[in-house]
């Protein structure tokens, strides 16, 4: 009993742990350093956003955490295989919305007789009840991203990686999806590592905002967001903190123009 407890405690220590991670790619003129000495801990159930301008290596970092690529230096540990949500929905167009989710369950090894019920539950969670048989092209942009979220949640990983998932949506849909993501995060207790270049989005969603500098990507600064959820993107404290972060971000970007 004592040993299992200790084990459980050990496994819930972090959802993701990045230690001194660097990544370089072969580019014109030799090796190009994209990420430089990144160390981040994501606690179980925590919501962290990575914020940065273009060239900060946000997507590279997510690929590393997702295990799609390996760091040049440093180590990355995650509590199980993380699920990943992309900027584009990446739903498979040859399957219906429901079948997309079922495929994720199948690949995870969920028995056949449980898949349909679990899929319906997930569709209900993202408020897509009745969309089981819908083809991907029959769904609106917001519905597609919600179906993609349901598919990612179907993996039941402890860590959900999100790569600018709402950046291609219109403002109204995006606001609604922020509410939904906050609700689902609260309901499921999943840890989220969310990448964005939108400062307000970062503050609206996260418990912790990490600002990355560009070329190479380094951790520039970190903020803890103490504003109670549910927040709205128009809330004064959100706007206030966004302003502060934006100023720092602009300063980071400005450095690249001074040569």
């Amino acid at each position: 009993m004592a040993t299992t407890l200790a084990k459980a405690e050990e496994s819930v220590e972090y959802a993701a742990r990045l230690e001194h991670v660097s990544k370089s790619f072969a580019g014109p003129g030799g090796q190009q350093l994209v990420l430089d000495d990144i160390s981040i801990d994501v606690a179980p159930g925590e919501f962290v956003t990575l914020l940065g301008a273009s060239g900060c290596g946000k997507s590279t970092l997510l690929n590393l955490v997702a295990g799609l690529d390996k760091p040049t230096v440093g180590s990355i540990a995650t509590d199980g295989r993380p699920s990943l949500m992309f900027q584009e929905h990446a739903l498979f167009p040859w399957l219906t919305a429901g079948k997309n989710i079922e495929l994720a369950l199948k690949l995870r090894g969920v028995p056949k007789n449980e898949r349909r019920d679990r899929t319906e539950e997930l569709l209900e969670l993202v408020r897509l009840k009745g969309a089981y048989g819908k083809r991907v092209h029959e769904l609106s942009g917001g519905m597609r991203q919600r179906a993609a979220l349901a598919r990612a949640l179907a993996q039941e990983s402890n860590l959900l990686l999100m790569d600018e998932p709402f950046s291609a949506l219109d403002a109204i849909t995006r606001d609604v999806l922020h509410d939904e993501l906050t609700r689902i995060w609260t309901e499921t207790g999943v840890s989220v590592l969310f990448v964005t270049h939108n400062v307000r989005e970062a503050v609206r969603l996260a418990q912790r905002v990490i600002l990355l500098s560009s070329r190479p990507g380094r951790i520039a600064r970190e903020w803890t967001v103490d504003i109670p959820q549910p927040r709205r993107i128009e809330d004064a404290p959100v706007a206030e903190l966004s302003l502060e972060i934006t100023d720092v971000l602009r300063g980071e970007i400005r450095r690249h123009g001074q040569h």
Binding site: F92, S140, D179
Partner: protein, 292 residues
């Protein structure tokens, strides 16, 4: 205000329902009258125009050994039908063609998959496979007869050499066009190796594959007809190519015309009945078919 107060979650839920309703467009079936006007009437008109032109040209040429009249050809149809040989000719060719095509499918599919996925194999035989497509498979009839003798295996050899490259190449280009995003998404879901091929690569490559099948059938049919016309032997059974050759040796232009029309007709019919619906179904289910 107090009476309409809702929690933020309920509020966003109802806004979301509204957005979903606004952004989803209902799709219905097109009525038959419109299908008739857009899809069925034009080809019927085209055939009618050709028949009229033919009937007008017949008295001008005035030489039944060069241009038979439409009614002569129709008479030939009736004649063959009453003798019971018409269906025999058609079935002889169609059964060979479809059997050969299925063989080509069984060989071309794994071949295409290996060429698409294994770099070494691709570099080795990819160019040859594309090159074979431009080589008319009729060229193989002579060596095939010498190697295999005058029998049905000549037909199947020629069909395979015509159709396998098309099917394999269709699958290769289908696989090449799979968006990398699907592969990444598949990998994060745990679809790697054979599972990735089965659940992601194959279905994603289906449109290119079906296009390859369509072309493969056209090549099969063409190759078969050429082989039937060239390789003549009494113990090879009846086929449309043989019918054409019979017409030529009997100097019956009506029979030759009948054979040509039937070859054309069967080729189109198989395409319309099997491959076009298959292609439309694949494209429509992915929202790739633009309604005109």
């Amino acid at each position: 205000m107090a009476s309409t107060e809702t929690t933020p979650a309920q509020d966003s839920g109802s806004v979301e329902a509204g957005l979903d309703a606004l952004e989803t467009t209902a799709t219905g079936r097109t009525p038959f009258s419109q299908t008739f006007k857009n899809k069925i009437l034009p080809p019927i008109t085209a055939v009618a125009v050709v028949l009229v032109a033919w009937a007008l040209l017949y008295p001008v040429v005035d030489n039944p050994s060069k241009l038979p009249s439409p009614s002569d050809v129709w008479g030939e149809v009736e004649d063959q039908w009453l003798k019971g040989t018409l269906l025999e000719y058609i079935w002889g060719s169609v059964s060979r063609g479809l059997l050969g095509f299925l063989l080509a499918l069984a060989i071309g599919t794994p071949l295409g998959l290996v060429v698409a996925r294994v770099k070494f194999v691709r570099a080795a035989i990819g160019p040859i496979l594309s090159g074979l497509q431009s080589l008319p498979s009729v060229a193989w009839v002579a060596p095939a007869v010498i190697w295999l003798g005058l029998n049905n295996s000549v037909m199947f050899t020629v069909i395979l050499l015509g159709a396998v490259p098309s099917i394999a190449n269709g699958l290769v280009s289908g696989v090449d066009q799979v968006p990398p995003l699907f592969l990444r998404a598949g990998r994060t879901l745990g679809a790697t190796g054979l599972r990735g091929t089965w659940h992601i690569v194959m279905p994603a490559a289906l449109p290119g594959y079906v296009a390859g099948l369509k072309q493969g059938w056209a090549f099969s049919w063409r190759s078969l007809m050429a082989a039937e016309i060239i390789a003549q032997s009494p113990d090879m059974g009846m086929g449309l190519g043989q019918l054409l050759e019979v017409g030529r040796t009997n100097s019956s232009m009506a029979t030759v015309f009948l054979a040509i029309l039937l070859i054309l007709f069967v080729g189109i019919a198989i395409d319309l009945l099997i491959f076009s619906p298959l292609e439309r179904w694949v494209l429509r289910s992915r929202g790739l078919l633009v309604k005109s």
